[in-house]
């Protein structure tokens, strides 16, 4: 019984939240890794792109709520999501036309594009704060829990109640759908194949008649979709605050690099590696241990390895370890 209780506590505070967070990071890291694979630079504006997509979705959600449109038990934000994706795609394509295209024509060094993306990051950050302000925004509605603690306790008779928030369920389901569609697109469709060919060998792809501008445009559209979905899911699950999205840049890049920059599968694995380590190291293990350890061993403290404010340190340490021992990431990413 105690063992089951410990298991439920573990699922409650570590497994489920880490899976949801991992899915959010994986979606973000997929966007970073796609841009790296096709456009060949690290896009520092990605966190703020996520914030922009989430912001548009929130504004549309509010409009829908005001007009009485809702998705029943599901959050209204899911209905507003397509609008957010279209707006973000328009923004990214516009940025590409106005800013990045020039450097592509010049065949500028990747690091120049990274610096340019810093400027874009500033502008997007300013834009988001200008429109929606720097504060927390709440846009969640619908059913709160899939399983609440009380239902679970009544069902099973255990002391520890299992809680699955609906945002966690939605995050995981949406992430699985999005990733499945993305991999189907990349592996099965003509356009997806041309993207992978372009990523593997630009010159060869050009010789085979692949239109680079089309590949780039489609990449931006896919990245817009990924970023908006990731941003909205994160905002639903935690909360929307422009600055938090900027700070997500570090774990997202850590995920992409740990998995191997330029490798979509790696980005997903990397996202979960980072999320699970972050949650495990900053979780107060006392709740699980009190069920397992004999009474006299009961820990005094919270048995928390590091305070939650050090979660960046976790991403960082994993990043450094992977870079030291396997510089191309877990799955061989692109080097050079």
């Amino acid at each position: 019984m105690d063992f089951l209780n410990a298991l439920v506590a573990l699922a409650n505070f570590v497994l489920i939240p880490a899976t949801a967070y991992g899915a959010q990071l994986a979606l973000g890291a997929l966007g970073v890794t796609l841009i790296y694979g096709i456009l060949r630079f690290s896009n520092f504006a990605h966190g703020d792109t996520m914030a922009f997509g989430a912001m548009i979705t929130i504004l549309v959600t509010w409009a829908m709520q005001a007009n009485g449109i809702s998705a029943g038990p599901l959050p209204t934000a899911l209905l507003a999501l397509p609008v957010g994706i279209v707006a973000t795609a328009a923004l990214l394509l516009g940025t590409d036309r106005a800013i990045y295209a020039f450097y592509r024509e010049q065949r500028a060094k990747p690091v120049v594009l990274v610096i340019v993306s810093m400027g874009v990051m500033f502008m997007m950050n300013g834009l988001v704060r200008f429109v929606i302000g720097p504060d927390d925004q709440n846009f969640f509605d619908g059913e709160r829990f899939i399983i609440s603690a009380r239902t679970f306790r009544n069902m099973t008779g255990l002391d520890e109640g299992l809680v699955i928030k609906s945002t966690q369920g939605i995050t995981i389901v949406t992430a699985i759908i999005v990733v499945a569609v993305l991999f189907w697109f990349l592996n099965r469709t003509r356009t997806g194949k041309s993207m992978r060919a372009y990523s593997d060998n630009e010159d060869l792809a050009l010789l085979s008649g692949i239109n680079p501008e089309r590949v780039v445009a489609i990449t931006w559209i896919i990245v817009a979709a990924l970023a908006t979905v990731a941003g909205v899911l994160y905002g639903l699950d935690k909360s929307f605050k422009p600055f938090t999205y900027f700070q997500l840049l570090l774990p997202i890049f850590a995920s992409a690099i740990v998995g191997g920059l330029g490798n979509p599968l790696g980005a997903i694995v990397g996202g979960f590696v980072i999320a699970f380590s972050e949650v495990t190291v900053t979780y107060a293990w006392k709740k699980v241990l009190i069920y397992l350890a004999p009474e006299q061993w009961e820990p005094d403290g919270l048995v928390q390895l590091l305070s939650t404010d050090y979660k960046f340190a976790v991403s960082f340490v994993i990043l450094v370890i992977v870079l030291l021992f396997r510089p191309t990431g877990i799955f061989a990413g692109r080097v050079g």
Binding site: V112, A254, L323
Partner: protein, 434 residues
């Protein structure tokens, strides 16, 4: 127009802008911009050493600046003997123990044969070491933080003159930079960037959480000053008499005199750093650095130790940032770890370097002054613009309220726009590298 004349004109124009704010706002504001401009110029020089001379992509400037600020507290604040007696030596001992455990792990890794045994031994050493370290460290911290938590609750500093904190800030930042460089240099440029971004966040997290060291979010105020206090000047009959003689109001004159005192100190540091940087850039060492930046493979083939040179310049540049960070906290008189934000302390410095002209020390200095002036002045200008746009709207119209409320966020947008425009139309900056 020849280059020296053009550059002189540029500097004159930017200084003119800063001084002009003295006429349309107040001399206090103008001198405030000048002082932070001087500090920003030094930070920009630090980043310029790393990026402009050597092509190293450091976006962890904030961390090194914050370490400099920590140095100001550790050097200049009066010590708290009770806290030291309660757990100071134990805490310091625990830190040394932690360092020894890491050193032992590194030693183990280098001296054991490859294989599973080595990996397991190292992991076991680190895990056991971590718990032993926490076992010694945690009680010490609790004891220190229990000593008068509202007033002190930390170890305090050494009680030395604050000017000593400036070079110490540089040393502290240099030490951290050495550790980062040892692990992350030699990696690809974007990996180094992410690594530095991470280390900066960690440094801030440490300063926010380790209350025994920096009082965390409780802040440290009343850091001693290198210049007299306004109130002492106002109570000094000699000063009051002299200012009244010259026809100034003693109260406002006192704050201007204090700001001028800071400006003189900062200008001295700026000129020393600039002189050293120029000497270094135009020496064989500086030429070697640029050669490495432009073609690492060729430089390596000529027998240059690229990694060692990168390490050197990374540490030097970070030290300059730390120095500026200590100066900034001295100017503010208080350390608030919660206010360190990457956009302000890392990316804004990058805008300064890019706009000023990377690779050129004078460019970095000019960029520091110009961008700081704009950072301060964009807000009132934006308010003016918004007032103009919304002039025709009703006073309670939501768009008008929203636009007026959001003026504060115009500066990020403007900075991004300036950076993108400069990169597009004048990628070498205002004063390009020679």
């Amino acid at each position: 127009m020849s280059r020296p004349i053009k550059n002189t004109l540029l500097f004159a124009a930017v200084l003119g802008l800063i001084l002009s704010s003295g006429f349309y706002r107040s001399w206090n504001v103008s001198l405030g911009i000048l002082n932070m401009g001087l500090i920003s110029a030094i930070m920009a020089m630090g980043v310029n050493m790393q990026w402009g001379y050597a092509g190293l992509f450091n976006i962890g400037v904030m961390g090194f600046v914050a370490l400099g600020g920590l140095a100001a507290v550790l050097v200049a604040m009066p010590p708290v003997p009770e806290a030291f007696a309660a757990g100071g030596w134990q805490a310091i001992g625990a830190l040394i123990l932690g360092a020894l455990i890491i050193a032992a792990a590194v030693y183990l890794w280098k001296h054991m044969a490859r294989g599973m045994a080595r990996a397991l031994a190292m992991v076991a050493l680190l895990v056991i070491g971590f718990f032993v370290y926490r076992g010694v460290f945690d009680p010490a911290v609790a004891a220190i933080e229990a000593v008068n938590p509202a007033g002190t609750g930390y170890l305090g500093g050494l009680g030395l003159p604050v000017l000593i904190a400036w070079p110490v800030g540089g040393l502290l930042a240099a030490g951290a930079a050495w550790l980062v460089a040892k692990t992350a240099l030699g990696l690809r440029s974007d990996y180094l960037a992410i690594a530095t971004l991470g280390i900066a966040e960690i440094i801030i997290a440490v300063m926010k959480n380790e209350e025994w060291l920096s009082r965390g979010v409780k802040n440290v105020n009343g850091i001693p000053r290198p210049v007299p206090y306004e109130i002492d000047l106002q109570n000094d009959p000699g000063f009051v008499a002299r200012m009244t003689d010259w026809g100034f109001d003693p109260v406002s004159a006192s704050s201007i005199v204090v700001k001028l005192g800071y400006a003189a100190l900062f200008l001295t540091v700026l000129l020393i750093v600039l002189w050293l940087a120029e000497k270094a850039l135009n020496s064989p060492w500086g030429r070697m650095m640029r050669a490495i930046r432009d073609n690492e493979v060729a430089a390596e083939a000529m027998g240059k130790d690229v990694t060692a040179r990168h390490l050197q310049i990374f540490v030097l540049g970070s030290a300059v940032c730390g120095l500026a960070g200590a100066m900034m906290i001295t100017l503010d008189g208080l350390l608030t770890p919660g206010t360190y934000q990457p956009l302000r302390f890392t990316f804004l410095i990058w805008v300064m370097v890019i706009v000023g002209g990377s690779g050129n020390n004078f460019g970095a200095v000019l960029g520091g002054f110009l961008i700081w002036y704009l950072w301060v002045e964009v807000e009132p200008l934006g308010r003016l613009l918004m007032d103009l746009i919304t002039a025709g709207m009703a006073d309670d119209y939501w768009l008008k309220l929203h636009l007026l409320e959001s003026v504060a966020h115009m500066r990020l947008l403007t900075m991004g726009l300036i950076m993108v425009l400069v990169l597009r139309f004048s990628p070498r900056g205002l004063i390009p590298e020679r």
